[in-house]
């Protein structure tokens, strides 16, 4: 009873949010009066019209960004946590991180294209590379700021180093991981668009730029909406998984 009312309330919030975005879009389109920005009423029928032809590109883009995030997390989480827990490792690699983190990895795209070809691999690598450093930085800080008392209490119970990782370090840093993943998903999609728009003949980024060069603005807008959906889907997935894994936070 209480549960279903909460679900209704959440759905209501989303309906309001969508209405808010659509209204803003409509007003902007009416004010600008340019063919490059059609109104939502014009675009939505076009979106459904192009949905089927867009579907393969949508799946390709989704696959690329998810794969890249998984690779970044699988490599970045252990690296970051290890750096945060070991002063010796941190002294050695901390400066490397300091130089590499603010470096815009996107400028490495030409190199990746030379190394990995024009397909999906360089795009996945570029996103993974960017997000990897984001995750490492956040996980390092998370591991550093762990409450020492909880570690001490596990050790006083006879816990080994592995027990401390399993019972303290990993669960304590899980919320931080999901915060980064949610923040990173926006960055990941932005890089995906850039990479797909520049090279290759697949993915939503290519679909959008192709429509743009054909001056088919409704088709372009259908692609843009699909891209937005991609972002929302990723964000929602992280949100749901995070809620499941960090029930203790609520």
């Amino acid at each position: 009873m209480k549960n279903s009312r909460m679900i209704l309330k959440r759905i209501g919030c989303y309906v309001f949010a969508i209405a808010f975005v659509l209204a803003g879009w409509h007003i902007t389109a009416v004010l600008l009066k340019t063919p490059a920005l059609p109104t939502p009423a014009e675009t939505i029928p076009v979106f459904t019209q192009y949905a089927i032809s867009m579907w393969p590109d949508f799946l390709i883009s989704l696959e690329r960004v998810v794969l890249a995030l998984v690779i970044a997390a699988v490599l970045g989480v252990p690296c970051g946590l290890a750096l945060g827990r070991s002063p010796r490792l941190d002294a050695l690699f901390g400066p490397v991180l300091y130089i590499m983190y603010p470096l815009p990895k996107i400028v490495l795209l030409p190199i990746l294209l030379v190394l990995l070809g024009l397909g999906g691999a360089p795009k996945i690598a570029l996103i993974a590379l960017t997000i990897f450093f984001q995750i490492v930085v956040v996980m390092r800080d998370a591991a550093k700021s762990l409450p020492e008392q909880t570690i001490e209490s596990v050790r006083s119970l006879g816990g080994s180093r592995w027990d401390v990782w399993r019972h303290v370090i990993i669960p304590a840093s899980t919320p931080d991981l999901f915060t980064t993943l949610r923040v990173s998903s926006g960055i990941a999609i932005a890089i995906l668009f850039f990479a797909e728009a520049i090279v290759g003949s697949t993915g939503l980024g290519h679909f959008i730029m192709e429509s743009w060069s054909m001056v088919n603005y409704p088709r372009m807008f259908a692609g843009i909406i699909a891209f937005a959906l991609l972002g929302v889907i990723l964000y929602a997935i992280f949100d749901i998984v995070e809620r499941r894994l960090t029930r203790w936070k609520r």
Binding site: E152, S153, V154, R155, S156, L157, G158, D163, H167, W248
Partner: protein, 265 residues
Amino acid sequence: MNLSLQHISVCYDNADGTQLEAVRDVSLEVEGGQAVALIGPSGCGKSTLLRIACGLLTPTSGSVRIGGEELAGPRSATALILQDFGLLPWKTVYKNAELGLRIRGVSKDECKKRTMHALSQVGLADMANRYPKELSGGMQQRLALARALALDVDLLLMDEPLSALDALLRESLQETLLKLWHENRHAHVLVTHSIEEAVYLGQRIVVFSPRPASVAAVIDNPHMGEEGFRTSQAYFECCTEVREALNRVVATDARSEASQEGRLA
């Protein structure tokens, strides 16, 4: 079980290269089933001693023996309860209580039996599926106790376990500690700032000097644990004795500080 600290000294290296002496030549014997309270000015190094007795810290010099054997690291029948309880917020009450058993590789059935027994001993059996933050401060402390009790310990070390609680809760938890001590016959060593608590829960009260910690006085409290002890004459007399010992310690400290300042001037 017989905890024996012999000539323990601890020095820390400061960041600026100087050394800080935290504990100076402390010897302490705790026999099996005995209740000992450690009291002294704050920051004097009592907590350091507990960590040494637990095996978390190695003293700079001196030896720690339990049951005649040199202590090499945390041992399975010792439990340490910390001031902030050391609970893991991401585990339920049950999972927190069973943590020590799981770490020791106890089988699931045995885990469940002992954990539920320990939880019911502290009155938390029906809270098993809650998370620590849903518990009050007093319940959190009971949970920390249950986690230690589930282990079947013979030595319970407590570092100001009740200092975060209000006065009423403190008294009721002191009763709990006393009851568990009577029931389980473990030895306990309690670090506290409260004279009343030390007298109520210690058969022997060890008074420490300010940093570096050294034993300033040992007061025997033979009537501890008797029925109605809290309102008895013996209790008040013992409190007075501890208070006087503490005053002497603080007074000598003030004098030595004053003489040091005099020398500097």
